[in-house]
Subunit: 333 residues, 3 copies
Amino acid sequence: MDLSRYDLDRLAVATVASHTALQILRGAKRYGFKTIAVAGRREAAEFYRQFPFIDEVWEADFSNFRKAAEKLVETNAVLIPHGSYVEYVGWRQALEAPVPTLGCRELLSWEADQHKKMELLRLAGIPTPRTYTSPEEVDGPVIVKLFGAKGGRGYFLARDREELAKRIAAVKEPHIIQEYVFGVPAYYHYFASPVYGRVEVFGADIRYESNVDGRTFGWVEPTFVVVGNLPVVLRESLLPTIWRYGAQFAKAVKEAVGCEMAGPYCLESIIKDDMSISVFEFSGRIVAGTNIYMGYGSPYSVLYFERPIDMGERIAHEIREAAKQGKLDKLFT
Amino acid sequence: MDLSRYDLDRLAVATVASHTALQILRGAKRYGFKTIAVAGRREAAEFYRQFPFIDEVWEADFSNFRKAAEKLVETNAVLIPHGSYVEYVGWRQALEAPVPTLGCRELLSWEADQHKKMELLRLAGIPTPRTYTSPEEVDGPVIVKLFGAKGGRGYFLARDREELAKRIAAVKEPHIIQEYVFGVPAYYHYFASPVYGRVEVFGADIRYESNVDGRTFGWVEPTFVVVGNLPVVLRESLLPTIWRYGAQFAKAVKEAVGCEMAGPYCLESIIKDDMSISVFEFSGRIVAGTNIYMGYGSPYSVLYFERPIDMGERIAHEIREAAKQGKLDKLFT
Amino acid sequence: MDLSRYDLDRLAVATVASHTALQILRGAKRYGFKTIAVAGRREAAEFYRQFPFIDEVWEADFSNFRKAAEKLVETNAVLIPHGSYVEYVGWRQALEAPVPTLGCRELLSWEADQHKKMELLRLAGIPTPRTYTSPEEVDGPVIVKLFGAKGGRGYFLARDREELAKRIAAVKEPHIIQEYVFGVPAYYHYFASPVYGRVEVFGADIRYESNVDGRTFGWVEPTFVVVGNLPVVLRESLLPTIWRYGAQFAKAVKEAVGCEMAGPYCLESIIKDDMSISVFEFSGRIVAGTNIYMGYGSPYSVLYFERPIDMGERIAHEIREAAKQGKLDKLFT
């Protein structure tokens, strides 16, 4: 995206008013940027308006995002995309929105297809669960994910081939059948920095899902709707591997998708009881799990910086340094 | 409570030596107040005496709290009430203790009756679980709470009408029968600020309960004794609703109970897998869940203040500002 | 260990590159020490080399640790031991390594024997689970731990005498049969300070174990491999007891083992639903659970210090003060 007509001394940072907007805009304000929240609903707009670190709260029609995007350009603003942005405006609009957008936008089309998603992970040399094309191949528990699944909705488990065969018959939408890996979930947060030429590992979270993480005593079927996130630190002996997977992923994006990773992303995994990792999903941009750092900063951010910073501050830091060094075109597409 | 004879330049902050006393007194000391811990047991007194930010540790007889209260007044001290204070001295003594006490004291009589508690939530327009008056009305799992239940003791579950009928027969004390809502627990922390004229959402916790959160493999009956708290961040798209419920609650207290909310309080909920919230309880003062912020501050405190602060510091900040502005009578009753 | 030939103005702090090395070395660097990570594997060395707060990353052969130890002495370095160090070089080498090592080294031989471990806890007057010598004595669920169990591997549960009798027959190694206590796990972190003449309680964590903390729905047998740690704060009314157990433990080490506790250690417990604590294990040095404080500091560190500090900083602070006061011989053996 063309940044040549932007006034780099008075950049604004914008994002959609949800998901991780609070940390993004607070971080941006701390680094001296003007801040804009773009809200889709009145209630959200009202909520975000109470915070003094947000300079402007806009209300926009997400079914026609081009209009808001053009206004952002007029306002000298860059956009930080996140999961709710992609969900609200849709990945096709996000792919083409005429506003400078952080990170590798082309990843969006890979993420829209669960099979391409897994392919990219495999290209990166990252271990993934087995994928099945039909119930006949299945010899253990599986998880079925619809392509449009959001925040854990549209997933179901089947304990064996028979249960899968029964339930899959009702599924008309595109989906993927994956081996259900036993172990514990762990979501790794990374930051790809074109400014420093490195991939940073920032920390990890566990998702808090309703109702599976509640007290159901097996009385109802488990559901997997993400309602929050918990902080976790991982065994330090796992970190070299986790860091390497993050770096391999960034490299694979460059080679296979053809654009450079810039900014936050996430690998989503199960850690098995032999300490091996199976990555079943990725997010090409900031995940809500990084909200665990808001206010505190992340545990591993102190490995790279003097004081703990959160992901919103990390993004703002990168933008400011890139602007100073004339490298903004490496961050925004 | 009459503060007119207090010397506002050398206020002391006192609390009972348990629950959240460490953060309350540490926060008070950071803001320049003299600090007093009132202990009921020798072992507690000894523990609190080791910390230099506590100026005085008193030992008191909680069965006659009036005496300690009068001494607090002579010492120019205000009292920060918490759950252990109410438990140790009893809500009737707490209601009448002749010492300026933070917040809306009259709420105590509403909290002593589980039915009035739920009524207040409904008056506030906050969704709550259904309440049943007899087993015949019940068509699913329920939770039964005795009125005097403390820290999770005195609760039990019944999976259906039959089990309830059997177990309720043995219950002689006042109790409430509530729908058992499936989802995940989440406890929201608020601060009502007369100084700034706003309700702040501070963060959330999950209770850590023995033995239900342990590894029991269904080998013993679940029990719900709170032994600690875990930090959690919630989906940002839930925050506008959570904030609104907090504000509605403060408004309902003013209208129905007739006094102004001031200081910390908590709404205690289940988040269902349709992302709706069901509030099954409230606390009209600081909850132990805010201990997760001690030393760090809370994630959302940075939305209102420059740096993260914990609830103890938040209280001290409010007292200091109210003292400056001549508004202490809005905080203490 | 003889520190008389050390140049105290340019001490180096060394540790094995794993476990808690990041916080230890970052803390040491903040307090002005030179830092050395000793790696056993190339991948680990490469990972640790990226961090500027680590001055030197060595590669060493852990099967002959004496060589590295001697080189550490030549480099004016003290060693901070941790669980991975003990695991990699073995407790016998650790016991005799000719390099000043933080804490009570002799504890290692007690920790190598599960029965002596429990004996030391009982000597300290700390409640522990019952121990059985044969299945006949057993009247409820038990946990069986092999002596060499590491990070949760080599444990198994048996629900009753019959299951135990069946499974124990296959166990040829030394082991201990313990009562399986119902409740929730909690791990308490302490710091014994010869400089300040006190035991500090620093905080607590919960272990995150694969697969038992995952979503297995009872479809596979539970396993207990520690892959990470979660932060938890405990009811403040438990703290006096937790603190007392920590102090009693340090006293028992002095009396029974004959050396002074110095630096971090941990008591590992179940909290029952009557709020009593049963300690089933201890660690005589820093545990990986303290990684939850990295970058943030611990919640209770602010009870003793002005700002939150993590365990790595706490260690470095103690070394610096001890060096100033000529008390280093109280820290290192």
